[in-house]
């Protein structure tokens, strides 16, 4: 019964979404306020219905109701409860429902933020949201119904893909989806602005929090996915330039560009057309990401759900939303008037340069990901585009951008002083260079590029810190004055510094992988293996039973630079329901570095073992966390919390002067 209620609620939600999409548009064209405001109520109802539907699916999983085909195919009664629940989105149908749930949640949030938006903008955005929800609800109901019943009901389920039975992967999809779907808000606002034919700094202020929110979650989602790949796939890699990874990386790059161009628009009322285009493209790339992952068009290492019929449906959705919005853009964008001016040397110009580089980087990933497919369709030739291609193209594009980042960050708005900005960063640059040179000297004979990359990362961290320090110390003398100035600095300034420092930390972590070492060997109990600073000695191999798996657990003594640490365990599991094996790497964290052990096949009477020494590897993900933290700080900036009417009055003045 619960299942049928869920299904019915989903169908009702489709109907309500159609109302949410069409009635406000009709109201807008007739200048009828009452009709235009229907969208808000519809959005709330739609969210309530989808939430009910989602709860029904969660309940079926919690109760292991195998009469539901979706539960039967992706769950098992012996699974721990937490994985029963996360199984809900560990499959195509359930993850789509999650997608729609987050989408309607965002719609409801817009509907609830009553006073902060111009009514016409809000009506248009909610209508666009309704259109997106309609498309995805129809997709779910027509091709991917999670509430399909089975008769007779099987006694036992087929278990969730074991590789997904992991806490990291359990929270990876929700994070990623909040990111993807968050950009639908930016898209909806862009389309609403185009329909309205008007856009100003108020628009930028309304959109920026949504963009930030989406960006924060996308950052966390990508970092989570990468860390999962690192510890679960068992060969210590953390980024493979796999199409599925690229699918989430492209919206991130475009979203990062958008975040920066919106700032220019908010400050200077400039870059309007470009910002609108970026907003459309970012969500289009999110849709493309969903398409790539869900259609299996580019089957990849971790594409677990593929079905060509569904692929066609998503392709149609993709073409309708991308094509439709771009057509609207071509038609209406000339109406948007360009606003404020800024000098060629200014923070605004630096942000334009940032956008040129980020857009190029994004285009590079796009072309690299889709080119093999296009070439095969056109000429029949098959080529591979893998990590070496991206290393050779993406990296050279990003390095200059990162090199000028600290300088751009310390330029003044509107009209900056390049020499002054360069001087302000001289200390950071000098220190970073010194550190790089010292590192080269210290690791003589080792890699040369890596120390320079460490220097680059350090430059970003120091640049961000010094820039903050400069602002705090600028017009203040004495500690109390500086403290109050530090407190008075806008949160977004702190956010910028943290986000940029986070990029620097990640780069240091990535660069440090040049010093990682690896050893492969066949070990019998008592034998040892050494890689870098770490040595392991195999103690014993034993069999252990988990709730729904059996595991061969190998226990090692672990030595770092000859000093004994607590023992380490690595295991290989076989999940009984699917008879599928997974590796559980043994990882020991020491400060920022890790020892990483993974098991291979038994070889004769020995066991194949790989040991890695991964210096500073954690910085990669700590950097991402710091980036996301910076974003969160910006999100709490009081500009976004101020009451709207006062804002609206203040913004009515032409180009706010500084």
């Amino acid at each position: 019964m619960i299942v049928e209620i869920g299904h019915y609620a989903l169908a009702l939600a489709l109907g309500v979404s159609i109302i949410q999409a069409l009635v406000p548009l009709w109201g807008l064209s007739r200048h009828d306020r009452a009709l235009a405001s229907v969208g808000a109520s519809a959005a709330l109802v739609s969210f309530a219905l989808v939430a009910l539907s989602f709860a029904a699916l969660v309940a079926s999983y919690a109760r292991s109701d195998f009469s539901v085909a979706n539960v039967y195919a992706n769950s098992h009664s012996a699974q721990p409860l937490i994985y029963k629940l996360t199984s809900v989105w560990g499959n195509h149908e359930g993850s789509l429902l999650l997608w729609v749930l987050i989408l309607t949640l965002f719609g409801a949030l817009v509907a609830l933020s009553r006073n902060s938006l111009p009514p016409r903008l809000r009506a248009g955005a909610l209508a666009t949201q309704g259109l997106v929800a309609t498309a995805f609800l129809a997709f779910t109901l027509l091709t991917s119904n999670p509430f399909q019943r089975l008769s007779p009901a099987p006694a036992e389920g087929q278990d969730l893909n074991p590789i997904l039975q992991d806490l990291g992967l359990a929270i990876h999809p929700p994070l990623l989806y909040i990111g993807y779907v968050g950009f639908s808000m930016t898209y909806a606002f862009a389309v609403a602005a185009l329909i309205d034919g008007r856009i100003d700094a108020m628009w930028a202020r309304a959109v920026r929090p949504w963009t930030l929110l989406a960006w924060i979650f996308l950052t966390l989602g990508i970092a989570m996915g990468s860390y999962w790949a690192y510890y679960e796939l068992g060969w210590g890699g953390w980024w493979f330039w796999d199409p599925v990874e690229n699918a989430s990386f492209m919206p991130w790059l475009a979203g990062t560009a958008l975040l920066h161009s919106i700032v220019v628009m908010e400050k200077r009322d400039a870059l309007k057309v470009w910002t609108i285009l970026l907003a459309i493209l970012t969500f289009s790339l999110s849709l493309l990401g969903t398409f790539i992952v869900r259609s299996g068009v580019l089957t990849s290492v971790h594409s677990f759900a593929s079905d060509p019929a569904r692929g066609l449906f998503i392709l149609l959705i993709l073409m309708a939303f991308v094509g439709g919005s771009l057509a609207l853009f071509a038609w209406r964008a000339p109406l948007l008037r360009q606003g404020g001016l800024f000098a060629p040397v200014s923070r605004e110009s630096a942000l334009v340069v940032n956008n040129v580089f980020l857009a190029t980087a994004c285009a590079t990933v796009f072309i690299g990901t889709l080119y093999p497919l296009a070439l095969e369709m056109v000429t029949g030739d098959k080529i591979s585009v893998g990590a070496p291609f991206f290393d050779a193209t993406f990296v050279p594009i990003m390095v200059p951008l990162l090199l000028i980042l600290p300088i751009g960050q310390s330029l003044a708005w509107k009209r900056g002083d390049l020499l002054g900005a360069a001087q302000r960063n001289a200390a950071a640059f000098g220190l970073a260079l010194l550190a790089a040179l010292a590192l080269i000297a210290f690791t003589r004979g080792g890699p040369v590029l890596a120390p320079l990359a460490v220097g680059l990362g350090l430059f970003l961290v120091l640049g961000a810190g010094f820039d903050l320090g400069e602002r705090i110390a600028a017009r203040a003398s004495g500690w109390p004055a500086m403290f109050s100035r530090a407190k008075g600095l806008p949160r977004s300034a702190w956010g910028t510094a943290f986000a940029h420092a986070g990029v620097g930390l990640s780069i240091i972590g990535i660069a440090a992988s040049a010093w990682s070492s690896e050893a492969i060997g066949t070990l019998k109990p008592g034998e040892k293996l050494t890689a870098g600073r770490y040595t392991i000695v195999l103690e014993s191999v034993s069999l252990r039973n988990g709730p729904n798996f059996r595991a061969d657990v190998a226990r090692f003594q672990l030595f770092a630079d000859g000093r004994e640490l607590a023992p380490l365990e690595a295991s290989k599991r076989v999940y009984t329901a699917r008879a599928m094996p997974t590796t559980e790497a043994g990882i020991r964290t020491q400060w920022l570095s890790q020892a990483y052990v993974s098991l291979g096949e038994a070889q004769g009477d020995g066991l194949a073992v790989r040991l890695y020494d991964k210096p500073m590897i954690l910085l990669i993900w700590i950097g991402s966390l710091v980036m996301a933290f910076g974003g969160a700080l910006s999100l709490t900036d009081r500009r976004f919390r101020l009451a709207a009417p006062r804002r609206a009055a203040a913004m009515a003045a032409p180009a706010p002067a500084e």
Partner: protein
């Protein structure tokens, strides 16, 4: 048939935990082994998706790894080993596609896009009148404005 083979090998690949290079494959000479690893990480595992033979545990990837090592032991240069593999399996096996008529767009695009973007920004920058039209505020006006807006501006 090819499809079935591909599926079969995919299943085989899935059925072994990810552990690519096996201890019995490793060459005695560390320098040679390092070259083998570098070459393998640029060669695609033909039956996998987007995995190098160095990362893959498919049987075919193992065969290729062993082949690469055999050629190296026989005294081939890195280039000769790669060429040998490409001769057998075509450009598809290279994770870094060679530059030719078919891949000119692929390789050229990033740099063309960057150049086009830079050109566009530069031309727009020249077309716009300078900021001289908007007079800068005096210190006094600035202070009053800050007082009115009640907001700290960086």
């Amino acid at each position: 048939m090819r499809r079935i083979l591909a599926i079969l090998s995919l299943i085989l690949a899935m059925s072994a935990p990810a552990n690519a290079v096996q201890p019995d494959e490793v060459l005695k000479d560390p320098a040679l082994e390092q070259r083998a690893r570098a070459i393998s990480s640029g060669l695609r595992c033909l039956v996998c998706q987007n995995q190098s033979i160095d990362d893959s545990n498919a049987p075919l990837a193992r065969d290729l790894r062993v082949l690469v090592r055999e050629r190296l032991v026989a005294g081939d240069s890195d280039r000769a080993v790669t060429d040998f593999v490409v001769q057998r399996y075509g450009d598809f096996v290279l994770l870094k596609p060679p530059f030719n008529a078919h891949t000119a767009i692929l390789w050229g695009a990033p740099f063309l896009i960057l150049a086009a973007g830079a050109l566009f920004v530069w031309r727009r920058g020249r077309r716009l009148p300078g900021p001289t039209t908007a007079a800068a505020l005096t210190e006094e006006e600035r202070r009053r404005l800050e007082a009115v807006l009640g907001e700290e501006r960086p």
